[in-house]
């Protein structure tokens, strides 16, 4: 059984589910969860690019000839850690918005802004 491009397509579908959650859901925490789904799909896309058929994890040992590409792994390690930094900053902003507006629903926040103007 060959995977072919199925991995890439699954990543794209996941990415679009994340994007839809970010655009269509008014709740700010839900938007950040959608952003996390989007992020994980990008990680999967990169990692599946680095896979070599018949290869093994890029840890040097005797008697192994074929290793998977270590460079996408390095990139994605960095991306995961930066992702958690942006997520924590976003969540802190949501907490502050919740304090100031008593709601974290986007449409209610816009309504309140219009009333204040």
């Amino acid at each position: 059984m060959t995977v072919g491009l199925l991995n890439d397509w699954a990543c794209m579908v996941l990415m679009m589910i994340g994007l839809y959650t970010v655009i269509a859901r008014p709740n700010l925490v839900k938007k950040l969860i959608g952003l996390s789904i989007f992020q994980v799909s990008v990680f999967l896309l990169y990692i599946s690019m680095g896979k070599v058929s018949g290869g093994t994890a890029p840890i040097l040992s005797e008697g192994i000839e074929v290793y998977s590409n270590p460079l996408p792994h390095v990139l994605i390690l960095t991306a995961i850690v930066v992702g958690i930094a942006t997520l924590s900053l976003g969540l802190a902003l949501v907490v502050r918005i919740g304090e100031a507006y008593d709601t974290i629903e986007e449409d209610e926040i816009i309504e309140r802004d219009l009333v204040n103007d």
Partner: protein
């Protein structure tokens, strides 16, 4: 065998993502995000990215779930039920998705050893990093030594985010002290 497990796990992840997107209880959505991250960690292990897998399991499933739950305890647990389905957003997503899938048609096949991504510096790291760095894990050698400056930049990003979070939430703590 690996291929079948990979496809089954990806289908499971898509089902889970749709469920998370449709769910109105944010507490449940946060817990499901933890499961989602663990599933992706299993796929990373299958695709030979063991370092990425344990980082995702620790950071993606552990720390981010804790952060989400903390936010929910400070705000609300329930999402307001939106009555309408957003047709415009669905249209935008479908167009973007079909463009992206059209773009993947030019991508090399899964696991192809002749793919462009394997043709440049990766071989040099695999051949030389063992004797140059003296540690068997190539990912560690690249992350901590060859591309050490990038990792320093990453630490700067985390530091900045940490300062930002303290500045944003410090206001709430100050207000509680005054009361």
């Amino acid at each position: 065998m690996t291929e079948i497990a990979d496809i089954v796990l990806l289908i499971l992840m898509i089902v889970l993502a749709v469920a998370i997107s449709r769910m109105h209880n944010l507490f449940m959505a946060a817990m499901m995000m933890g499961i989602f991250s663990f599933l992706s960690a299993i796929i990373f292990t299958l695709l030979d990215a063991v370092d990425v897998a344990f980082t995702e399991a620790a950071v993606g499933a552990g720390v981010s779930t804790v952060l989400l739950l903390g936010t929910l305890s400070l705000t609300t647990r329930e999402e307001k039920v939106a009555p309408k389905n957003n047709a415009l957003a669905l249209l935008v997503v479908l167009i973007t998705g079909s463009a992206l899938i059209y773009g993947t048609l030019d991508m090399p096949m899964f696991g192809d050893p002749n793919a462009p991504v394997h043709q440049h510096v990766a071989d040099r790291y695999i051949e030389k990093s063992g004797e140059e760095m003296g540690i068997p894990n190539i990912v560690t050698s690249v992350l901590a030594s060859y591309r050490g400056y990038d990792t320093l930049g990453e630490v700067t990003v985390i530091f900045t985010a940490g300062v930002g979070v303290i500045l944003l939430l410090g206001y709430i703590w100050r207000k509680e002290d005054e009361q």
